[in-house]
Amino acid sequence: MSSFKLIVNKEKKTISADPDTPLLWVLRDILGLTGTKYACGKGLCGSCTVIVNGKSVRSCTLSVADAAQSEVITIEGLSEKGDHPIQKAWMEADVPQCGYCQPGFIMSAFDLLSKNPNPTEEEVNNVLSGNICRCGTYSRIRKAMQIAVKVGNQ
């Protein structure tokens, strides 16, 4: 067990964990931030996507040792009241079915739009193709992205 410092959703945290513990399980089991989901554990599906130092990462494959001292944003920290324009766009398009993959998609979308507020359809496809939605909400994700881009440009 070692001790690590992290800034999670703007709050300073000191946690103790084995250095190889993936950030995913630190967030979920230790910090109680369960919006970040486990679905493959191998960096294949994007359900565990969070933002670390401004970049989207798969938290299931990033060890807490490597994440130490970083600034982490999870779905819970995206906005105060769940009203980030991307979240609002997701609601307007009534995207989720089971909902399990959605925080991961929203975080990937957040990463894309913060770097590129006007992505082409191809750029959206490329970035969001790193995530899997088993229920097949993809058409509505596309729609929500269009709404979010439009709102971002106003």
């Binding site: 067990m1 964990a17 084995d18 513990t21 993936p22 399980w25 979920r28 089991d29 230790i30 109680g32 931030l33 369960t34 919006g35 970040t36 989901k37 486990y38 679905a39 493959c40 554990g41 191998k42 294949l44 599906c45 359900s47 999870t74 779905i75 819970e76 009241k81 769940g82 979240q87 997701w90 609601m91 009534d94 995207v95 989720p96 079915q97 089971c98 909902g99 399990y100 993959c101 959605q102 925080p103 929203i106 959206v124 496809n125 490329n126 969001l128 193709s129 790193g130 995530n131 899997i132 939605c133 088993r134 229920c135 097949g136 909400t137 993809y138 058409s139 509505r140 994700i141 596309r142």
Partner: protein
């Protein structure tokens, strides 16, 4: 329209301590004994508080199919509630709710009358109370947006002011339902009830819950189906910080592989219990286990398929209409083809997991299950519990697709919690989830048709061979029942028709997978019908409409018949929506298939492109659906899109293979799922009518793969008779 609530249940009103009106099911939990014992329990369904807030209990588990929104919408509609003042709360498992499972597209079908009856009875009480207060006859009153309204004067009293008086009203046996043309909630797109909490990450699935003193667990299972643990060395595991205990799991100490018919027990393996999920996961990686595979058949996919092929010639007749031998003699031509389908996994996004707290006499469970009743039965069987000792909560689930109909993973958790005397959260890794699924059965089908001089199909023979779900799950009855069904299309449409079944025994665990049997039979039938249309040099849709014949009620089995007019209507509409007859660019083609299931009718047209390098792209899907009344158009459209994508995705990539008795695939790298960049444009239209709502989660799935294969043929001339499509086009 009148309706009463059947059997053991009836609706009862009471007033709660806070003055709220509580309406629920008064439920006789035991059959009356010789001495009349009052044995009623009361479970709430609706609560209206003095502020006018209406709380509705969602009784069926939510797997992403939208019932948590759709069923309360029906109730709120009949009640005349204001949807903005409705709160929906997930109900726990309770026998009084009846039919509390999720599967077979049945939730809305089974609850349409119950929800309306409950809503109508409460409306009756509220109107009764208002009539006393306003001093006007009840016939002049209606409910609207959370108030009782006097039609003539538009004077109104909000529900909250009526709850005390309403709780005194005696309820009638029979109630009138609201005319459908006055609907304000049902039929309008409604965002799902958990939407805000899903997008802010606060919605809690079972995997997210934490109890005080809870232990985290995972299990390393024998990868070989029907294998056991011979011995194991856990010394390295126990060195990992956080590991609390290592416990072998042997189902032969708990009644064996099956708890009961249709209900599997846990798979043998070794569990690691720890103070975090990660320590448990790591702990299983360090286990050294010697497996005992003496009872395994050590099957391989290739051998399995060759058994299936052989068994096509040793079959039982499952349906026989007319005489196919006579049709064969009269025919001027014959067409025959063989189709192969693989095993498929469910891969729900939230892997199998369960929390059980068995730390006292009570067994409290939080379970992502589509089948709480089987879970209860399993706990009774394994531990000799009384039903009163079991409490089952039903958190929202990250997908189901039929996988969570089986409760094997919950039995794991229960055994471990019992042994530890502490609450246990068991999480399967994705690898275990894929390796120990209850797979959609693989199958081989041979279809033969005999045609007369006009190209009319006068004889049809469909032979399906595989290992059956019935046998795999220890169900009673005919093994053919789950595989080739006497109801399957085209039963009723060909005068000389024979369905046959070749039964093979296998160790591979088999279960229901969204849309079940027709995922195989409809793929073959609708691919084959396309081949027959081509044989006749006819347009597929023209040929199919001729095959159906004029609109009429077609008897299928016994008294069961259906209206081919509804099937024709969705087909004609999809022909129009997809511009079926318009020319396409070079390399593109369209394919069609139609289907009836769970009382609904679906027609689909898939447009694909196969480029010069033989690369396949699905361009567009058009679907037209007649499922009667569409309760929530937003949720309904999502179900149709999801089912179509699932059908297409399975057709493109889905394949579980078996080697030496174990599943080969383990995660999303080798069990591929469609990604955003691959999906076609999808256009869904619903036929508008006032017929009772029918199932929707499954019917759009089976035609998708056939329409895709037919489109590939139209685009490239390559006929796909084996799924998945995989590299078949590239290998040409």
């Amino acid at each position: 329209m009148k309706n009463t609530l059947g059997r053991r249940n009836f609706i009862k009103l009471t007033a709660s301590a806070s003055g709220a009106l509580v309406v629920g099911l008064h439920f006789q939990s035991c059959a009356p004994k010789k001495e009349p014992v009052e044995n009623f329990s009361f479970v709430p369904l609706i609560e209206i508080d003095t502020e006018g807030w209406v709380t509705l209990i969602a009784k069926n588990p939510e797997i992403g199919q939208g019932v948590k929104t759709a069923l309360p919408m029906i109730l709120a509609e009949e009640l005349g509630a204001d949807w903005d003042k409705v709160k929906v709360v997930q109900g726990d498992y309770n026998k009084a709710y009846e039919e509390q499972w999720a599967g077979g597209s049945y939730a809305v079908i089974l609850n349409w009358d119950l929800m309306r009856t409950a809503g109508a009875k409460v409306r009756y009480a509220l109107i009764g109370a208002a009539s006393q207060k306003m001093n006007v006859p009840t016939s002049e009153l209606i409910t609207r947006k959370g108030s009782v309204v006097h039609k003539k004067t538009e004077k109104s009293i909000p529900f909250g002011d009526l709850v005390a008086a309403a709780s005194q009203i005696a309820l009638p046996e029979e109630v009138e339902f609201k005319p459908m043309d006055t609907y304000e909630i049902v039929g309008k797109p409604c965002p799902q009830v958990d939407l805000d909490n899903i997008v802010n990450g606060s919605v809690q699935y079972t995997i997210d819950l934490k109890l005080p003193d809870m232990v985290y667990a995972t299990v390393l299972k024998n990868p070989v189906h029907k294998g056991k643990v011979q011995s194991f060395d856990d010394s390295q595991t126990r060195k990992i910080s956080g590991v609390i205990d290592v416990i072998p799991l042997d189902n032969s100490n708990y009644g064996g592989r099956l708890i009961g018919p249709n209900s599997p027990n846990f798979v043998n393996g070794v569990a690691v219990l720890a103070n975090s999920t990660w320590a448990a996961f790591k702990g299983t990686e360090k286990l050294e286990v010697v497996w005992d595979n003496s009872e395994s058949k050590k099957e391989n996919t290739q051998d399995i398929f060759s058994h299936y092929h052989n068994q096509l010639n040793t079959t039982s007749v499952e349906r026989q209409d007319g005489n196919i031998d006579q049709a064969r003699r009269r025919a001027v031509s014959q067409v025959e083809h063989v189709y192969e389908l693989p095993f498929l996994a469910h891969v729900t996004m939230e892997p199998m997991n369960c929390i059980v707290d068995f730390s006292s006499e009570m067994c409290e469970v939080w379970a992502p299950t589509q089948n709480p009743e089987a879970l209860e039965q399993g706990l009774i069987k394994l531990f000799g519990l009384q039903p009163e000792q079991i409490k089952i909560h039903l958190p929202r689930m990250g997908g189901g697709f039929g996988r969570r109909y089986y409760v094997d993973y919950a039995m794991d958790a229960a055994v471990l919690s019992k042994k530890m005397g502490r609450p246990v959260k068991l999480i399967w890794t994705r690898e275990e989830d894929i390796k120990h699924d209850w797979y959609r059965p693989a199958s081989v089908q041979r279809l033969s048709a005999w045609l007369d001089q006009d190209g009319k199909v006068i004889g049809w023979r469909q032979v399906l061979s595989n290992a059956s779900r019935v046998t795999s799950l220890g169900r009673e009855g005919n093994p053919a029942g789950t595989e080739i069904d006497e109801y399957d299309f085209p039963a009723g449409f060909v005068p000389n028709l024979q369905f046959e079944y070749g039964h093979v025994l296998s160790d591979v665990p088999l279960g229901q997978w969204r849309a079940v049997g027709p995922t195989a039979t409809a793929f073959a039938a609708h691919s084959f019908l396309n081949e027959l249309a081509i044989h006749n040099k006819k347009d597929h849709i023209d040929f199919f409409l001729e095959f159906l014949g004029p609109p009429r009620m077609v008897p299928v089995v016994g008294d069961f018949k259906y209206d081919t007019g509804r099937l024709r209507a969705v087909i004609e509409k999809v022909r129009e929506n997809s511009n079926w007859n318009s020319p396409l660019p070079e390399g593109q083609g369209r394919g069609f298939a139609a289907h009836r299931q769970a009382g609904s009718f679906v027609a689909e047209v898939v447009t694909v492109e196969v480029n010069a390098d033989n690369q396949l792209k699905i361009v567009r899907v058009d679907a037209v659906v007649d499922c009667g009344i569409v309760v929530n158009p937003s949720g309904a459209e999502a179900q149709v899109e999801g089912a179509i994508l699932e059908g297409l995705c399975a057709a493109l990539y889905g394949e579980i293979t078996i080697e030496d008795g174990a599943t080969v695939q383990s995660n999303f790298h080798d069990y591929r799922w469609m990604r955003l960049g691959e999906i076609p444009e999808i256009h869904v239209e619903f036929i508008k009518n006032d017929l009772p709502p029918r199932g929707l989660g499954e019917p759009p799935l089976p035609p998708a793969a056939a329409a895709l294969a037919n489109a590939i043929y139209a685009a490239s001339g390559v006929r796909i008779r084996r799924l998945p499509i995989g590299n078949q086009l590239l290998d040409i």
